[in-house]
């Protein structure tokens, strides 16, 4: 065997022998996958007996629960992050396809690529297809993330979940907790680059999907912000698409739980716009309540306004 042949054979052997999943780039891709724990709203838990809880504190807790529930689908993303990519493509990684155990006959994949233009930007999509569906994939979720550094998954991201195309193809979505609604779309824009972190959500539901009504919709817009200390704020707007009536709530709280909320009710049919202010203590008991549309004999105003915490907007 000549020397050159020995060298080439050795290199070939070394190449074959070199194997594994040891990759910094894989980590960068996995770092760009949104994590539910980074985006969920955090507020001190309410009292076990909610009868005495401040009304707007209770609403805030309920909306936080709904906000976080809407992010439950990100558990799939959390699952993806625990596995190495299935395949590596130039400037990209693919997880899957894997059978969708919750939807027999369907399979999913997660594709992430580096953006060709913007440095440190990753684009991704979560797709479903019927097994044997060839090249036809239905994109349920697509988004992007720009890593800014400074910590794990620090950066800015944006993703949209769209259900209509997959639903039309026969993909079955689960009903919401109310047993009637189904998700139409969810758009999340978030920034975890620095504090305060912010998550802006637009949630659109089919409220009567259980009856097969996929025309009427209801939407919820929420903006959540939080400091590392636990101080946070939630702004949400709820609108009834049929009547046009809306409620806009701006709720803020301290790490201890003490907080306040200002709710504005608007009825476009008669031009009425009223603002309700309520403050609560560390136990979420109301310390000041000014509700203009209180029904007598309940007083419009109770408590002491000076007990309201001064919580600057974030």
């Amino acid at each position: 065997m000549t020397s050159s042949r020995i060298i080439w054979t050795s290199l070939l052997f070394a190449t074959i022998a070199a194997c594994g999943n040891y990759s910094n780039e894989d980590l960068e891709f996995m770092n760009a996958v949104p994590a539910r724990q980074d985006l969920v709203a955090s507020i001190k838990s309410g009292p076990l007996v909610t009868a005495n809880e401040a009304e707007l504190a209770k609403d805030t807790h309920n909306v936080v629960a709904a906000f976080n529930g809407a992010l439950d689908f990100l558990k799939v993303a959390d699952l993806i992050r625990t596995y190495q990519p299935t395949s590596r493509i130039p400037d990209g990684r693919i997880w899957g396809p894997f059978p969708d155990n919750n939807h027999p006959g369907w399979q999913w994949r997660f594709v992430m690529t580096k953006d060709a233009v913007t440095a440190d930007k990753f684009n991704y999509s979560f797709d479903e297809q019927q097994i044997g569906g060839g090249d036809t994939w239905y994109t349920l979720l697509d988004g992007w993330f720009i890593a800014t550094g400074g910590g794990v998954r620090r950066g800015m991201g944006d993703f949209t979940l769209q259900t209509d195309a997959a639903r039309m193809a026969g993909f079955q979505f689960e009903l919401g907790d109310d047993g009637k609604s189904e998700l139409k779309s969810l758009h999340i824009a978030y920034s975890t680059a620095d504090y305060p972190i912010s998550v802006v959500m637009n949630l659109v539901l089919y409220p009567n999907a259980v009856t097969g009504d996929f025309t009427n919709t209801g939407s919820l817009d929420c903006t959540y912000e939080a400091l590392q200390s636990g101080q946070g704020g939630l702004h949400f707007d709820a609108t009834d698409s049929a009547s046009g009536k809306s409620l806009s709530v701006d709720s803020r709280w301290l790490p201890t739980g003490r907080g306040r909320a200002d709710a504005t009710y608007t009825d476009p049919t008669n031009g009425v716009s009223l603002t309700w202010n309520e403050c609560w203590d560390d136990s979420f008991m109301s310390v000041y309540d000014n509700k203009p549309w209180a029904t007598p004999p309940a007083p419009v105003t109770t408590g002491d306004a000076t007990l309201c915490p001064d919580i600057p907007t974030l």
Binding site: S10, Y22, L27, V152
Partner: protein, 529 residues
């Protein structure tokens, strides 16, 4: 016996003087030189058969007019490999003859022989078959030298007497014309090795003769007869008092029409040590830098001797009844250095450079080492972000002088771990590595320090776990070739401290193909088992 030998020598010299010595010019010389320390299950391993073969190979290619492309050195070869080499040389020789060249084949074997067969490890070649094969080779002149026990069987069948087996066979049939056989002992004698000279008596003295010690005519050329006569005299003299009894080389000659053959030309290179005419007579030992006797020259009064040693440093010893005369001489490349008596000084027998403590143990032996290493990947920080610098604990097992003299084959195992961070995603991790490697090094043993260099092939298995299982664990394994060098410092009889460095190539091919490298420093303690 001695009287008979002298008479035979005189008769040989007469023949030699009458016949014109063949010259290297016009004679294409081929050589097959084989050495095998192992003779299979029924024999004890020899210590110096391979070393003797190398020595003869070096002399033939350096001084014997054998071109390196026409010389084949076989160490530890099997019977089939030896026969294959014969076939290959025969094809070369046949081609040379077609071009009108006169050809000669020099066959040398050092190793075990028993029950009429050469023992090459677990394989055998019948002596008669080998002899017939060489006799039928398509060359003009065939010279076979066997240094093995009872090797005289090869000449006995030709009719040589037991001893003194110094006899020219003139009654051979015509088809055996052009063949000379030298053996180290008769058909019922053992061929002996010596730790003092680091070789077999016969090959040692044959080599010394070829280097110039046998140039009795003083013409700078050592002929076949001169070499044999010298080897015979010195071998018999050295072994006469040995426990195994005297060993008598044999000689079978049939070169009708060719006369004597010049085996080596010690003048042509003009390189080595020159013993001038006025230098005292006696046996001069020329000891190389490793403590081995490179040549043992028996100088007579009133004659000079050229000893064609390779460039290097040599210690010279001449033994007197009550003391030694020792000295040092450096042989530069292309120069013949005269050794005047004034360069030697008196020394007690305890300072004998041949039998002194500087002698190197040539026996195969194992050693076990343990210590700590520190390893770092080049191309930091990107390389370090992948594979952070790591301290490791290591053990190694080494086998010396098994493959060949001063070669060390080692297996080593090392393991270690450290902390690292993937900066791009701010992910701290725990890095672990295990390496299993084999290395082959060449060492230059001295009394206290033994430097060495060589090559190494390592199997690396590396992995990392991220804090809080933030990401799934990762691993990477690869083969990594590299170079190793260091020095062993002997601190006790069987114990050495070792300082070692390594340079390795590391192919990383997960994200992309990257040629990385790493260096490694180690401090070890090694114990000879």
């Amino acid at each position: 016996m001695r009287i008979g030998l002298k008479l035979a020598s005189v008769a040989l010299l007469a023949v030699t003087a009458a016949a014109p010595a063949a010259r290297a010019q016009g004679l294409r010389r081929f050589a097959i030189v084989a050495g095998n320390d192992s003779g299979g299950g029924e024999t004890r391993p020899l210590l110096y058969a391979s070393a003797d073969a190398r020595k003869v190979y070096d002399i033939l290619t350096r001084l014997g007019g054998v071109r390196t492309e026409d010389a084949t050195l076989l160490i530890g070869a099997s019977a089939s490999q030896l026969l294959s080499a014969v076939v290959a040389v025969e094809m070369q020789a046949a081609e040379a003859k077609r071009h009108g060249e006169q050809t000669a084949l020099f066959f040398y074997y050092s190793g075990h022989a028993k029950d009429g067969s050469l023992r090459l490890g677990e394989t055998r070649i019948p002596v008669e078959g080998l002899k017939a094969r060489i006799a039928s080779s398509p060359v003009d002149v065939r010279i076979a030298i066997l240094d093995s026990c009872k090797s005289g069987a090869m000449t006995r069948t030709k009719g040589a007497r037991r001893a003194p087996a110094f006899e020219i066979q003139a009654d051979s049939p015509r088809d055996a014309k052009g063949m000379v056989i030298l053996t180290s002992s008769t058909s019922d004698e053992d061929s002996q090795e010596s730790d003092t000279i680091g070789g077999s008596y016969f090959s040692h003295h044959l080599a010394s003769g070829l280097l110039g010690g046998a140039d009795k005519s003083g013409d700078g050329r050592v002929t076949l007869f001169e070499a044999y006569a010298y080897a015979y005299d010195r071998t018999v003299a050295d072994t006469a008092e040995s426990a195994a009894g005297a060993q008598h080389p044999t000689f079978s000659y049939d070169l009708a029409g060719n006369g004597d053959l010049v085996l080596t030309d010690v003048a042509v290179r003009h390189e080595g040590v020159y013993l001038p005419r006025e230098a005292p007579s006696g046996v001069y030992f020329l000891v190389d830098g490793k403590g081995f006797v490179a040549a043992e020259i028996n100088k007579a009064d009133g004659v000079d001797r050229r000893v064609a040693l390779a460039p290097g440093h040599y210690r010279v010893k001449r033994r007197l009844p009550d003391r030694l005369r020792v000295g040092d001489v450096d042989v530069p490349r292309g120069q013949m250095v005269a050794l005047a008596e004034g360069r030697l000084r008196d020394a007690p027998f305890s300072d004998d450079p041949v039998k002194g403590a500087g002698r190197v143990d040539l026996t195969s032996r194992w050693s076990l080492g343990a210590g700590a290493t520190y390893q770092s990947v080049f191309a930091a920080p990107s390389g370090a972000s992948l594979f952070p610098p790591t301290g490791m604990l290591a053990v190694d097992l080494s086998l010396r002088n098994f493959l060949r003299r001063d070669w060390v084959w080692s297996l080593d195992l090392a393991a270690g771990s450290t902390n690292g961070v993937v900066a791009s995603v701010d992910a701290p991790f725990r890095f672990s590595e295990v390496s299993l490697a084999s290395s082959l090094t060449v060492e230059w043993p001295h009394r206290y320090v033994t430097p060495y260099v060589g090559g190494r092939l390592a199997m690396l298995i590396m992995g990392r776990r991220f804090d809080n299982d933030l990401y799934p664990a990762q691993f990477f394994s690869t083969l990594s070739p590299g170079l190793v060098g260091g020095a062993a410092f002997r601190i006790m009889q069987n114990t050495s401290l070792i300082a070692r460095g390594r340079l390795h190539y590391l192919l990383y091919n997960i994200d992309e193909n990257r040629s990385l490298g790493y260096w490694e420093l180690a401090a070890m303690v090694s114990y000879d088992l």
